[in-house]
Symmetry: C2
Subunit: 333 residues, 2 copies
DNA sequence: TTGAAAGCGCTACCAC
DNA sequence: GTGGTAGCGCTTTCAA
């Protein structure tokens, strides 16, 4: 009961009540604009609150008013246009349900992601996003919170995960190139992991479906510069290449730029098809053809599954948690 | 005390305790990995929790463990690259302090913004962002929550607001154009409000500082297409124009595209300088010269001020809440 | 190792 | 119009 403590304790509603000489319910009424309160009393309370720098505890408030649900969205890098689009889509889908979304940008660092996960559990009701943490780790950290993963290369039994199915789209892309007369088609895969990506698998299978050998492949960092370097390397090793399919649009944009610098006209001398369907792709010159993912659908699906998990009601099965990508022709191919 | 209710009540720690035949403190210990608990007891509790689908209330938890602080970030449109950069910067600055950021994308709709504000107050400790709501409205809705506004055209006394000072940068830009021999310089202003923008004021003053009349102005929607249309209109009315300064980079990118379609080479036949300094600007062809804003600094400043407001300790004054924009020459001018 | 009791700060529901 | 009382669901002493 020591009322004269050093160090700043939190200012509570009782402090305001005491200072204004009223009870705390009166304070509550004043602050929440309920009626049933005298004008002068109200003003006195408001003044006292302001004076003391009082701010209600959202926890206490949330506790009594069974409040909105909020989900954590974990993203490797918001500045990467792809993740920007995914985030926007998820935000949109969540808003439609009146959910709050706490966004965590891990800056592509795994340790940062771990730290985020550690702290996230007490703040949100569910987690959605891109996680690179091993499953066991996630499981331990989340302690039962619903988790919806996006685009995990290896499927996981323990958590819901949304798969991206670009097989049809990539086949259509390669078919289009072949129909346009291309035979020497290369790929700019990502350089992230040691094994080739699944998109590379699709590429190979599409090539073989067209009766072509797996084309030449160059590895690219996931950046415009990475794309530039990779295309140059590819064309140095395989100068006869007349078309490339890339791991994603960012790399493709780098390829576009490299082609221009090398004096190769797109699509005349070199056709380029990316993957992702970024809006950004329509701004570059020439506008990028791409295997476009339905990001809005992705976000909606992730949120839908989260909702079901939250309600413990018939979650979607793995087969339903799929977003397709389709060929979207613009001008680069 | 009716234990057999219809409708799904929330599963509480007591339900788990009852089901596992222990007290709730024991449940708490099991769930939080505290020691001092028998292995078999712990397992039994965990099983019960899983079975019942129990998830702790973050409010109750936050109430007792004086938890992390979280701020609301209100953004008109996350897909607008400018806001993406601001959001990323704010997220980054917040993470450095261990804060949680709840992101709200209002989709550029004022009613949506109002709804957001209404619901936000009980979820966060402070609000940062772009608000179009009238001050009185914000004041009423926020009820004492710290608010930090970004780039409000009209300064406000009631809230902290971070101002963008592009005057020096715009002067440098116009000076650069004049030094390069340009005399007929136009501007593509935004079409949002009825009055010309502050950036237009800077343009006019920069022109006059160089001894030039206020150039011709065309209004553009804030989109690439808007920029295209506006440039075409401008060149139709004033074909002698050899350089344009634009309200922002998005519009400038549209201008670049329009110039290309009109057969005007950039920067040879037409010089273009944008405003904002988006990363995007370095991807287009030719890379865009621009009056670049320090978005990271913006985010950091907003968060810094929020922190001070939260601590009720010496908030920054209006003069300190300024972010400068400086000319960044790339190739379009 | 476990349990009982005491709050965290707030609002809802009833008296007055 | 105002105040008392009883919780919201959880963790943290302190006893057993």
């Amino acid at each position: 009961m020591a009322s004269s403590e050093t160090g700043s304790r939190r200012v509570t509603i009782d402090d305001v009540a005491r200072s204004a000489g009223v009870s705390r319910q009166t304070v509550s009424r004043a602050l929440n604009d309920k009626g049933e309160i005298g004008v002068s009393t109200k003003q006195r309370v408001l003044d006292a609150a302001l004076e003391l720098g009082y701010r209600p505890s959202r926890f206490a408030r949330g506790l009594v008013r069974q409040d909105a649900i909020s989900v954590g969205l974990v993203i490797p890098d918001l500045l990467n246009p792809f993740f920007t689009e995914v985030a926007a889509a998820a935000l949109d889908a969540a808003r439609a349900r009146g959910w709050h979304v706490v966004v965590y940008d891990t800056g592509d660092r795994v340790e940062e992601e771990r730290g985020t996960l550690e702290v996230i559990a007490s703040q949100v009701d569910a987690v959605v996003g891109y996680l690179r943490q091993p499953e066991d780790e996630v499981d331990k950290l989340m302690r039962g919170l619903p988790v919806v993963l996006i685009d995990r290369e290896r499927r996981t039994e323990r958590f819901s995960s949304i798969r991206i199915d670009g097989e049809g789209g990539v086949h259509a892309a390669i078919r289009h190139l072949v129909d346009s007369g291309h035979r020497r088609i290369g790929m700019l895969d990502h350089a992230g992991r040691s094994e080739p990506s699944i998109r590379h698998d699709w590429f190979v299978s599409a090539m073989s479906a067209c009766g072509l050998d797996a084309g030449s492949v160059s590895r690219a960092d996931q950046s415009v510069e990475g794309g530039e370097r990779a295309l140059k390397a590819l064309l140095t090793d395989h100068p006869a290449t007349t078309a490339v399919f890339t791991f994603n649009d960012i790399i493709a944009i780098g390829a576009l730029r490299a082609a221009r610098r090398l004096g190769r006209r797109v699509p005349r001398d070199l056709a380029v098809i990316g993957f992702d369907g970024l809006r950004l792709g329509s701004l570059v010159e020439p506008p990028l053809s791409t295997v476009a993912l339905d990001t809005r659908g992705l976000g909606a699906l992730a949120v839908e599954q989260t909702a079901r998990l939250l309600a413990t009601s018939s979650p979607l099965s793995g087969d339903e948690l799929v977003v397709r990508a389709e060929l979207r022709l613009r001008e680069s191919a």
